[in-house]
């Protein structure tokens, strides 16, 4: 798994690539919690993620809860069909804001 962060239009875009699995989710969790802690809107770019498991999803949930408590925005963008399927099976597609593209996520703001 690789990750990168960049800022655009007042949001922090955290992009993950590769496999967010049991081996790498602790790192994903750390990155997400750190960025949410900056109290900026966080948009998680999942376009490069080939695989995400329950531990990766748990990292997203934890960051989402921290953002909600802080009153800052947190959304997902561009999950591939496999990642979306896991989110659906976990019934989190109704919890997270999920945008088809990063661009759409930036346009939506909030």
């Amino acid at each position: 798994m690789k990750h990168s962060t960049r800022e655009e239009r007042g949001a922090v875009i955290v992009a993950f690539a590769g496999e967010v699995d049991l081996e790498h989710s602790p790192q994903a969790r750390e990155v997400l919690l750190e960025q949410v802690g900056r109290r900026r809107r966080v948009l998680v770019d999942l376009s490069g993620v080939d695989y995400i498991d329950s531990s990766g999803i748990a990292s997203l949930v934890e960051a989402f809860q921290k953002a909600r408590k802080a009153g800052t925005g947190f959304a997902l963008a561009a999950p591939n069909p496999a990642a979306l399927r896991v989110l659906e099976l976990a019934r989190l597609d109704r919890v997270f804001r999920i945008f088809v593209t990063v661009e759409e996520g930036l346009d939506a703001g909030g």
Binding site: E19, D21, L22, E23, Y51, D53, S54, S55, I57, A58, S59, V61, E62, Q65, P81, A82, R85, V86, L89, A90, R91, V95
Partner: protein, 148 residues
């Protein structure tokens, strides 16, 4: 056209560690492709097996580094039969329950994902020796299979 039924099962034995799961998933994906599983079923199967192995690593061996997992995947007729076996102390199957999803919590999703993705799951005692055995069945719609 190659007839995948009866093709050799996938049999893997690997250390119960997080850094071993990627290799397992790659080997499994490759075999599922050879069996011409449709993309969605293959995604479900890889996820369920991965989550089952994670449960073994986290809850059966509890992070003990010397544990071993045995995985067997067979394609029989129109179903995939999967067995995940460990040699850890026996875990009470009653304790392996999916949690209700109405409460938003970071953990405890794995067992729910397994049950959602598979048509049948059963926690058993292995026929011999110590450990735990998880049997799972996924019914298939194979791509390109005649009459499927």
């Amino acid at each position: 056209m190659t007839q995948p039924d009866g093709a050799a099962p996938l049999e893997l034995r690997f250390p119960a560690r997080p850094d071993e799961l990627r290799g397992m998933r790659d080997a499994l994906r490759q075999r599922l492709r050879a069996w011409r599983l449709d993309e969605e079923s293959a995604t479900d199967v890889v996820m369920a097996v991965d989550e089952a192995c994670q449960n073994v690593i986290r809850h059966a061996y509890r992070g003990e580094p010397d544990g071993v997992i045995e995985l067997e995947v067979r394609c029989v007729g129109d179903e995939l039969q999967i067995a995940v076996r460990d040699f850890a102390p026996t875990v009470d199957p009653a304790r392996i329950r999916p949690r209700p999803l109405d409460e938003l919590r970071p953990g405890g999703l794995g067992t729910h994902l397994i049950r959602s993705a598979m048509d049948h799951t059963e926690f058993l005692k292995p026929p011999s020796g110590p450990g735990n055995l998880l049997k799972m069945v996924k019914r298939l719609a194979r791509t390109g299979a005649a009459g499927a």
